[in-house]
């Protein structure tokens, strides 16, 4: 027990009692959930002793069921990318409801610039533009997508920063506008048949690669740069940030732009992975992205949270979804159980936080 007085001296301070980082709680929750599925696999009679994470019937050259490990993270990688941006918005004291429809609108637009000319030797039946838009280099749709995302984010941010309307309303309005754009773009028709290079962006485990890379980038941004510090400051006390001379308006616009660009990038990966874009894509993504962040310990009142937490929050979702299929849970109960687990994970987190701060 190291009892010292730190800082500029004063009270007794027992640094061995420093509370764990919040991220640890959610990691524990993750482990508990995995363990529960493992146990259920052994206990439920119809499961025949299958394992959740381990390779029990020798389908892989590994002790793990690698297909499972892959799908767990693959299926949350795309919403995870959105969640990285949503995390920043929430830390800055805002909220972004527009990310789901933005994914749909961006996917529709981007795919129109990523179409191939010939499908199995026949002319592309889904062409949106004339022939000039066929077989464009892959960088074009990427730039178009990111630019569209930045544009929408800038509008969100400017309304929030300059007219000071609640972010909930600004992004709810944008939610509807983006849904409209997605449907209007091709009058509801899906857009398919991308070029091979475009299809490569989200093929196989690529979404996971992007997710990990962007998560690291965002982590560095939030933890080590002025941008990140100001984001926390604004979320913590906007007036104080303003009085401290932070350009709050410009900063907010920047945060929403980054969030929307991440959502737009997620749309690119999503449409590439699915080889199609359709206007109904991204339904409820905004809610799931927010839920991932909050499960990961991001506070909806702003000022608190981390990218590591959000990544762990995303993993919780992945494990749950995969686990439900694994134990063959009836689909009606899946959605209920998902609700219960979201609540449970956050309750666990709160409870551990309280216990930690109350520890003698």
């Amino acid at each position: 027990m190291a009892e010292t007085t730190q800082g500029t001296g004063g009270l007794k301070y027992d640094s061995s009692k420093r509370s764990w980082p919040n991220e640890f709680n959610i990691f524990i929750a993750l482990v508990i959930i995995v363990a529960i599925f493992e146990v259920l696999g052994q206990v439920l009679p119809y499961m025949n002793g299958q394992s959740f994470l381990f390779d029990t019937n020798d389908r892989f050259n590994s002790i793990f069921n690698e297909a499972r490990l892959q799908i767990i993270i693959l299926q949350v990688a795309i919403i995870g990318i959105i969640s990285l941006g949503v995390t920043q918005v929430i830390i800055s004291g805002g909220i972004d409801l527009s990310s789901g429809p933005l994914v749909a609108a961006t996917a529709m637009i981007v795919m129109s610039f990523a179409q191939t000319e010939l499908v199995n030797g026949n002319p592309n039946p889904k062409a949106v533009f004339g022939s000039w838009a066929f077989d464009l280099p892959v960088i074009i749709p990427i730039i178009v997508g990111l630019a569209f995302g930045a544009f929408i984010g800038a509008i969100n941010g400017m309304f929030i920063a300059f007219t000071r309307i609640p972010p909930f309303i600004a992004t709810l309005g944008m939610f509807l506008i983006c849904r409209g754009i997605a449907q209007w773009w091709t009058r509801g028709q899906p857009v398919s048949f991308p070029t091979e290079s475009y299809a490569g962006l989200g093929a196989g485990m690529m979404p996971v690669v992007w997710f990990v890379m962007l998560a690291i980038l965002c982590h560095v941004l939030l933890r080590y740069t002025v941008y990140g510090k100001h984001t926390y400051a604004i979320g913590s006390n906007e007036d104080a940030a303003r009085m401290s001379g932070i350009n709050v308006r410009r900063h907010k616009v920047m945060v929403y732009m980054i969030a929307s660009m991440l959502a737009a990038f997620a749309a690119i990966i999503l449409s590439s992975k699915n080889l199609t874009a359709q206007s109904g894509m991204g339904l409820f993504y905004e809610l799931y992205a927010i839920a991932m962040a909050v499960i990961g310990g991001v506070s909806l009142t702003g000022g608190r949270g981390s990218i590591i937490g959000t990544v762990l929050g995303a993993m919780v979702f992945g494990v749950i979804q995969s686990g439900f299929t694994y134990i063959k849970l009836d689909a009606y109960f899946q959605i209920m159980a998902m609700g219960a687990i979201i609540i449970g994970a956050v309750v666990l987190d709160k409870w551990r936080q309280q216990r930690a701060s109350a520890r003698p």
């Binding site: 730190q6 800082g7 400051a233 913590s236 009085m243 932070i246």
Partner: protein
């Protein structure tokens, strides 16, 4: 004229129907320390909020450093060289002491990264400890967030922030209200140091002893108006109280008041 650093002319602020500040005409010379006193709700903080750009005045002019200024926000005022400790302190609760101290002017590395330049945590922490020693406050762990601090500790952080950076004008709105005996003494020392360095100061305080000890001139607010402008040598505690309570008004500030 050139030794006047701040001047306001007929500065007025109405909140809806509330006339919180009415025709405040005020000057501050270079190197001068002035106290603003007055009852609760007399308009002192309102006056400060107008000259620091936190709010936009209803009417009136502000001249700073010789030319008329229109601060669109506190950022402008700070860039012009005005540092302020606000009554509400303006601290970010979720950040720690050194983050708050350097908020808005972080020490950084790789500055070519623009808004994404890196923070130099090490340098900031070292400077923080030095700055806090000036205020004599005891903070068990400077990595603690502000929300876990006592009222006095918060106030010391806010003061340390202002005292750490050189400025053309320092404004302190009741800086020692929550401070203990030792800490108050230290803050008063800080103010004396400013005086020695020739930096001008506006001090709002209800503490007569402190005001008499520290400043050159006392301006009294009453019901949103300035009612007296007293050189310290020409007055004493009782006299000032008479102005504050309304028993006296200097002739040049008399107005036909509807009571």
């Amino acid at each position: 004229m050139s030794d006047i650093i701040l001047e306001t002319r007929n500065l007025t602020k109405h909140y809806g129907g509330v006339h919180a500040l009415q025709d405040a005409t005020f000057t501050l010379r270079k190197g001068e320390h002035v106290a603003i006193m007055g009852d609760n709700g007399a308009g002192k903080s309102t006056f400060v909020r107008q000259i620091t750009g936190v709010e936009q005045p209803t009417r009136g002019e502000i001249h700073f450093g010789g030319k008329q200024v229109h601060f669109a926000g506190p950022l402008d005022a700070r860039e012009a060289g005005i540092e302020a400790v606000f009554q509400t302190l303006a601290l970010a609760d979720d950040l720690d002491v050194s983050d708050n101290l350097f908020l808005g002017r972080e020490k950084t590395k790789f500055d070519w990264l623009g808004p994404f330049r890196f923070l130099d945590y090490k340098a900031m922490r070292a400077d923080t400890i030095a700055a806090l020693e000036k205020t004599a406050v005891k903070i068990p762990n400077i990595r603690n967030t502000i929300q876990n601090m006592s009222g006095g500790q918060r106030q010391c952080v806010a003061i340390a922030r202002t005292a750490t950076f050189h400025s053309k004008l320092t404004i302190m709105d009741e800086p020692t209200a929550a401070l203990g005996v030792q800490e108050t003494a230290q803050v008063e020392n800080i103010i004396r140091t400013l005086k020695e360095q020739g930096e001008p100061l506006i001090l709002i305080s209800h503490n007569m002893r402190q005001v008499m000890d520290l400043v050159d001139r006392i301006v009294v607010f009453r019901r949103g108006r300035i009612c007296a402008n007293l050189r310290k040598e020409d007055t004493d505690g009782q006299d000032v109280v008479a102005y504050i309570t309304g028993a006296k008004t200097q002739p040049e500030y008399e107005v036909a008041e509807a009571v």
